[in-house]
């Protein structure tokens, strides 16, 4: 990881010195362990703040929407796919970007780390595939694969799909993973069980909209939940309002979601919100053979008509 960091800093410093970009978006160390924050470097000196480790799970594409400058951006596999989606949706121009591609080996889940040491974490040290966690309750070493974010363990696109420069050789992609096991489990439920499942799943939701704010797809100037003329959905934490919000938000991400996990990572109450987008991702793959953000040359399925599009639901 440290090699990545040096390379990222070097590339960023070079880009800013040569005035190829006005700013570089990356990560800097957060004030608490495991909480790296987005960082904008505007001078070559500032690039020394840029870091890279296994806590860079935030999706930086979120900070590109409608920007006018020339931007250097550090991008993992999922970030790059969201950048592609942003370009296709005219939220940024390809020419404005210099994409520093990072072959990703997965981001760790801060909840799993905290669980491993029963609560507080003072420091997390990475050494290859081993992660040492230091906390008041003692030290513990875990294998990185055991504490990965769920979306990272199911990821099939670790290497950036577009980039101008890579910080390292591409990593091997994961194969033989069943990404949709959780979705199939819900599909198999009967109606009552589904209702009960969703109600229980969303019961802790406090409607803080952290999932929406962390999501690079959610860039509408006024979100449907914030509109009040007409008011599409109640603002309370009524179970029906909660479900309406989560169902609708998921549908807005259909054919666009890259399963970057930013929503689930941001949720303060730990709701597995990815289950909704995962279902839509599965449908897009099965019905349209589509995975978001793989290429700039194909339009998304909800954007084009093809005679072979499935239409069995129309009577």
């Amino acid at each position: 990881m440290l090699q990545y960091q040096d390379k990222i800093q070097a590339i960023a410093a070079r880009l800013l010195k040569e005035c190829k970009v006005d700013l570089v978006i990356g990560f800097r160390r957060g004030t608490v362990p495991m909480m790296n924050e987005p960082y904008v470097a505007r001078t070559a000196e500032q690039t020394t703040n840029l870091i890279w480790d296994s806590h860079c799970g935030i999706n930086l594409t979120n900070y590109l929407t409608d920007r006018k400058e020339k931007i250097g951006i550090v991008a993992k596999g999922c970030d790059s796919r969201n950048i592609v989606t942003h370009i296709l949706e005219n939220k940024i121009e390809r020419d404005q970007l210099y994409i520093i591609g990072v072959p990703c080996q997965g981001m760790v889940d801060k909840r799993k780390i905290a669980q491993a040491v029963n609560g507080a974490v003072d420091q997390v040290i990475e050494n290859g595939n081993e992660i040492t966690i230091k906390g008041p309750a003692g030290d513990k070493t875990v294998t990185k694969a055991d504490v990965l974010q769920n979306n990272c363990s199911l990821c099939k696109h670790r290497n950036p799909t577009i980039h101008d420069e890579m910080v390292a050789e591409p990593v091997a992609e994961q194969t033989d993973i069943d990404a949709y096991e959780s979705v199939r489990a819900i599909e198999a439920m009967d109606i009552d069980a589904k209702r009960a499942y969703f109600e229980k799943l969303l019961e802790p939701c406090i409607r803080c909209y952290a999932c929406r704010n962390a999501c690079p797809l959610c860039y509408c100037p006024t979100c449907f939940v914030d509109e009040h003329r007409p008011q599409w959905v109640g603002k309370s934490t009524d179970p029906v309002d909660n479900m309406t919000f989560h169902f609708l938000r998921a549908y807005h991400c259909a054919g666009r979601c890259t399963d970057c996990g930013a929503c689930e990572r941001a949720c303060p109450v730990g709701i597995k919100v990815r289950i909704f987008t995962k279902k839509l991702e599965k449908d897009c793959l099965e019905l349209f053979g589509w995975e978001a953000g793989l290429s700039l040359d194909t339009r998304p399925p909800l954007d084009v008509y093809r005679p072979e599009d499935p239409d069995d639901f129309i009577k």
Partner: protein, 49 residues
């Protein structure tokens, strides 16, 4: 997502197919009546004294 099959229906009807429109509306109405009132995703209104 927990909505009964049949409560949500899609049809493609041209503006020239008035009879099809009538048929579809009748069919949908009958099907929905058979299902009864929807209780799912309906918010209970606060009771006002």
């Amino acid at each position: 997502m927990g909505i009964e099959p049949g409560r949500l229906q899609f049809s493609w009807i041209s503006s020239a197919e008035s009879t099809k429109f009538v048929d579809v509306v009748n069919q949908v109405t009958d099907a929905i009546k058979a299902l009864g009132p929807n209780r799912y995703l309906v918010k209970n209104q606060a009771k006002v004294a």
